[in-house]
């Protein structure tokens, strides 16, 4: 079972209910819902790829228009929160699938997990994960400033 299979789902377990929860949550905190980066169902077969370059993708996708700077500022203000939400979604899928595989008495039923997922997605971003993003930030020196988050902090 590949990571791609787990994150996208299959006929045996369709993730549309959970994907809907994720999309609603993302749209709830974003300044605009017109960006592709806010529609994970359009991210194709490698859904986590854009996570690595959300900022660059959004900046390149925005045309030069009046108000671009303000919109970019709003997107920048929600970017880490969005990363946290998407990351929580993927991590939850991963954990649920692993638990289903390794524990006999657990069956992963996506539509039953909607409320729990919503609760996880709305959890606040830990303070040590928040990084002040600058214009020329190449993120090369930020690792040392971050404490590592252990699995126990999830949930």
């Amino acid at each position: 079972m590949s990571l791609q299979h787990i994150l996208i789902g299959c006929d045996a377990y369709k993730l549309q209910p959970l994907l809907g929860v994720l999309t609603d949550t993302l749209h709830g905190i974003s300044p605009s819902s017109e960006f592709k980066t806010l529609h994970l169902d359009a991210w194709g077969h490698s859904p986590w790829y854009p996570l690595l370059a959300l900022r660059e993708i959004e900046e390149s996708a925005l045309p030069i228009l009046k108000g671009r700077k303000a919109l970019l500022k709003k997107l920048k203000g929600t970017r880490q929160r969005r990363e946290w939400i998407i990351g929580n979604y993927y991590w939850a899928l991963w954990k649920w699938r692993m638990k289903e595989i390794h524990e006999d008495n657990f069956k992963f039923v996506p539509w039953l997990c909607k409320s729990l997922l919503k609760e996880k997605l709305l959890s606040p971003v830990p303070a040590h994960l928040l990084v002040i993003e600058t214009e020329n930030d190449n993120s090369s020196g930020t690792n040392s400033a971050k404490a590592r988050l252990t699995d126990g902090a999830f949930g």
Binding site: K36, L52, A53, S60, L65, W94, E103, D137, G155
Partner: protein, 399 residues
């Protein structure tokens, strides 16, 4: 005899003799003397004397140019012939030392020698290397008004044009392409176009662009010092850096005097308004000026990148990249790099360097366990270890 077309006739020093020559033109077919333009320096006694001379020479009692002149408004063309119906046979009287427009040949009014002007009907983008073979010497400063025009300024579909108008009755207009277009770029292009056309003449450029004046006051030198990093950029088109570098080259390569005057935009400056109108025409129908095709002669402008004014982490990264092979540069990440580049390009039409982004997984605001899963997925490693498989975790993690 068919009337010759006289669009312009030079009268640098109006005198009765010259006007008599004009009147002889009527005998050979010029039927009407219809138009007289009185620039500011000629107003007053000089113009009155000229008009009196013309009246005496023509000898028509029904025509009174003096009265027409007096009743005319300031800064307006004075119609001194009541039967004017068209431009044919139009004669203009100039007070400045110029000019019969005849292709690229200009007759110097004072010296009565033929000199060759730089070609103004082409854009020598690829020929800016060559210096003019013939020096053009005028005994006065030529005033040139430049202006740029942009529609949908700053947007992707922006179109822009540039133009210049001189007091020598020469002008030119272009349509810009090949870079991020904006009103400022069009203004710079107008000055560049003007400098290309008047390579060695003494000129005074009138511009209404504060941006251009800022560049000339030190902005260009600052950009050169800082490696041209301040030019506006866009993902799909290059920055207008070549245009700015060409401007600096033209400024350094000049032999004639050069002055700049701030003109008031959209004010009462007739020439500036003419340049504005011509720039609008150029935007719609001018010859194409491709900024990306500009080549700067070597040695005139420092185009090398510089390291000053860069943040320390950027310098560190540059040094490390040049000296150390990072894990993401190894073969283990090769397949993922290719897949990631293609996928991002297809999904978002963005061309990104995977080498800059693979390591960013550790900076994402996501849980540490997911970071490790993604990292192992990227380098093709198996996700092993009980922490990834749910054993030993709290029930709350699993729901």
């Amino acid at each position: 005899m068919q009337a010759p077309v006289l669009n312009h006739l030079a009268l640098p020093r109006p005198s009765s003799q010259q006007f008599l020559k004009i009147l002889k033109l009527r005998e050979i077919g010029v039927k009407r003397v219809v138009h007289l333009y009185a620039p500011p320096p000629m107003r007053g006694t000089g113009l009155s004397k000229t008009l009196s001379t013309m009246k005496e020479a023509i000898g028509q009692s029904t025509w009174s140019p003096l009265e027409n002149y007096k009743s005319g408004t300031r800064n307006a063309q004075v119609n001194i012939w009541p039967n004017m119906t068209g431009p044919l046979g139009c004669i203009r009287v100039f007070t400045t030392p110029c000019s019969i427009i005849a292709g690229r040949i200009i007759r110097d009014a004072y010296k009565a020698t033929r000199v060759r002007l730089p070609k103004v009907d082409y854009i020598p983008v690829t020929r800016v290397h060559s210096r003019p073979q013939e020096a053009i010497i005028y005994d006065r400063d030529i005033h040139v008004w430049t202006d740029g025009s942009a529609d949908k300024n700053g947007q992707d579909e922006c179109t822009a044009g540039s133009a210049w108008v001189s007091d020598m009755q020469f002008s030119d207009k272009i349509s810009l392409t090949g870079t991020v277009l904006s009103n400022n770029v069009a203004e710079v292009a107008a000055v560049v176009l003007c400098l290309l056309a008047w390579r060695n003449a003494h000129i005074v450029i009138h511009t209404d662009s504060t941006y251009v004046l800022g560049l000339l006051k030190g902005g260009l030198l600052a950009m050169e010092r800082d490696g041209w990093g301040d030019a506006p950029r866009h993902m799909s088109r290059g920055p207008p850096t070549p245009l700015l570098q060409l401007l600096l080259y033209l400024l350094r390569d000049r032999t004639g005097r050069l002055g700049f005057v701030k003109a008031k935009a959209h004010g009462n400056d007739v020439m500036n308004n003419m340049a504005d109108a011509l720039a609008n025409e150029g935007r719609l129908s001018g010859r194409v000026f491709d900024v990306s095709a500009i080549q700067i002669p070597a040695g005139w402008v420092d185009t090398s990148p510089v390291l000053c004014h860069q943040p320390l982490n950027y310098l560190t990264k540059l040094t490390m990249r040049a000296m150390v092979q990072t894990p993401t540069d190894t073969l283990k990440f090769g397949a993922f790099s290719d897949r990631w580049t293609v996928t991002i390009g297809n999904m978002f039409s963005a061309v990104l360097d995977p080498g800059n982004h693979i390591s960013k997984v550790w900076d994402l605001a996501i849980l540490e366990g997911l970071k490790e899963v993604l990292w192992k997925e990227m380098n093709g490693a198996q996700v092993l270890g009980h922490r990834y498989y749910g054993t030993g975790l709290a029930k709350s993690d699993m729901g």
